[in-house]
């Protein structure tokens, strides 16, 4: 009993430490913040811990977001979520109660953010239905142009799973959709879409949005997203246009490589390309110069997994 608690606690602490060490965090957590975090970790279940991980990721991705340029400050979700300890919860969600008494720690969640989440949830539900129908009717090529959001995964027949193999877990799909959205919400993606029309894209050579409806392990999915993002960096705006942006993006690319090294299956390919990274963007050069970048093999491997 007791030891179990300790283990959980220990793991979370380790995670918290990892956070504070990670260089890509834009805001280095202050001491009280960290304390609050670790005390919260004691209560939280595994699912929370995952959200936390995801949140960390999102912060990192937000570095190269293009549409926050109008000065909108993204609120930290941690602030708005610290209200949980209050036992005042009746049957009503806490966001709707006692707005006046909102002290320094507001119990009201963010309306705007809530609406964004609702929007994504309903979109994901709609997408599942479309995807199911598409698989069932078997015409995977014609229809997909008309699909609006996320899943622009063009698919050869090898790719179409049998209907039972679809990922239907909403939290998983939302998490994946968020990752995809962050990737798409970049200047590079806009440029890519403009420069390379869909029918000219070659599998393997051009980045292809991972298919969020397929069953993948967490690790495999995250890896696909990372590789997809790295590939998209080839369409980053020219360096002289926004040197700030480039610097951040470089950090991110390096970070991907580090992550690859940390994974259970260290890829010699990746580390070698990193060590020889005297040029600014090894992967980018790779993509531009040679027709068949090494990365493409890895994506396919990941997809097979």
């Amino acid at each position: 009993m007791l030891s179990g608690d300790l283990i959980v606690d220990g793991r979370h602490r380790a995670k918290a430490r990892a956070f504070s060490n990670s260089p890509q965090l834009s805001v280095s957590p202050s001491a009280p913040y960290q304390q609050a975090m670790s005390s919260r970790y004691k209560h939280c279940a595994d699912s929370d811990y995952r959200t936390e991980e995801n949140r960390n990721k999102r912060q990192r991705w937000s570095h190269c977001r293009k549409r926050d340029a109008d000065g909108n400050v993204r609120r930290s979700r941690d602030e708005s979520e610290t209200h949980t300890s209050d036992g005042r919860g009746s049957n009503r969600p806490e966001c709707f109660t006692t707005p006046e008494s909102a002290g320094p720690m507001s119990r009201i969640r963010d309306w705007a953010e809530e609406v964004e989440n609702d929007e994504m949830r309903t979109s994901v539900r709609r997408d599942i239905e479309r995807y199911r129908r598409r698989i069932l009717t078997g015409d995977s090529v014609q229809r997909e142009r008309k699909m609006s959001s996320g899943s622009s995964d063009s698919r050869d027949s090898r790719d179409s799973p049998v209907p039972g193999d679809i990922e239907t877990d909403e939290t998983v799909l939302m998490r994946r959709q968020k990752q995809i959205n962050y990737g798409k919400n970049t200047l590079a993606y806009d440029r890519y879409v403009k420069e390379v029309p869909k029918h000219l894209r070659k599998p393997g050579l051009h980045p292809r949005t991972p298919n969020k409806f397929k069953k993948y392990s967490r690790r495999s999915w995250d890896q696909q997203i990372k590789l997809w993002k790295v590939k998209l960096h080839a369409w980053d705006p020219p360096a002289d246009e926004g040197s700030d942006l480039q610097a951040v993006d470089l950090g991110e690319v390096m970070d991907f490589e580090l992550d690859v090294e940390c994974s259970v299956d260290p890829d010699p390919e990746a580390s070698s390309s990193k060590s020889s990274s005297s040029s600014l963007f090894p992967e980018v050069d790779l993509l531009r110069d040679s027709g068949t970048p090494h990365k493409m093999m890895k994506i396919d491997e990941a997809e097979m997994a």
């Binding site: 549409r67 109008d70 000065g71 909108n72 009503r92 969600p93 966001c95 709707f96 707005p99 006046e100 909102a102 009201i108 963010d110 309306w111 705007a112 953010e113 809530e114 609406v115 964004e116 609702d118 929007e119 309903t122 979109s123 709609r126 798409k184 919400n185």
Partner: protein, 233 residues
Amino acid sequence: MTDAGAQTLNTMEDSSKEEYKIHSFDPETQKLLKTALKDPGLVDLEAVSNIIVDQSLKDQAFSKEAGRMCFTIVQAEAKQNNSSMFRSHLLNRLQKEFKSREQMRKRSILEWVCYVSFICNIFDYLKVNNMPMMVLVHPLYDCLMRLAQPDALKNEEEVDCLVLQLHRIGDQLEKVNADRMDELFFLLRDGFLLRDGLSSLTRLLLLEILEFRAGDWSLSDAAHKYYYSEVHD
């Protein structure tokens, strides 16, 4: 490609065809709003949302119609950038005002009534994947319940606002939360039956809204005649 082109054309036609009540703004602001309606990517959408909310809180007529304008901007932004900054700014501001609504009511009944009218209008116009914005449902009920309190029922401006909102969005609200609509109508019924000192107009408005809901959010012809014959004459 052609679809998208046709759609853009349609929106452009719409926005030029439709009249938005922006003539009361100074020329500079009018220009900003017109740009926001057509090309939201070019303007500071937080400033735009603040302008619209500020005006709504002052101008009762504007507060009743501003939702349509917000709808157009949200649509345009989604189409152009696939983003929803404007909606976020708008909701953030509305939430901020909501938190201090009791002070607002003390400060100015007009502002408070305008606020309720505006947020209801937003709820009416802005949908998320064809669904109402659920996050607004409880706040809206909170506002309407406040308008149904005894002290507010003595105030014709507030009663007028209350029944107008119920006429417009009562059925939508009931669909997403019928329990709170019941609660609200208990208040209205008790207000009508038990309160002294209500003006005859207030009693008429309350009676009409009770009958309106009882008739599944519509008035029978006979009832309509009963309430409006004098107006027509």
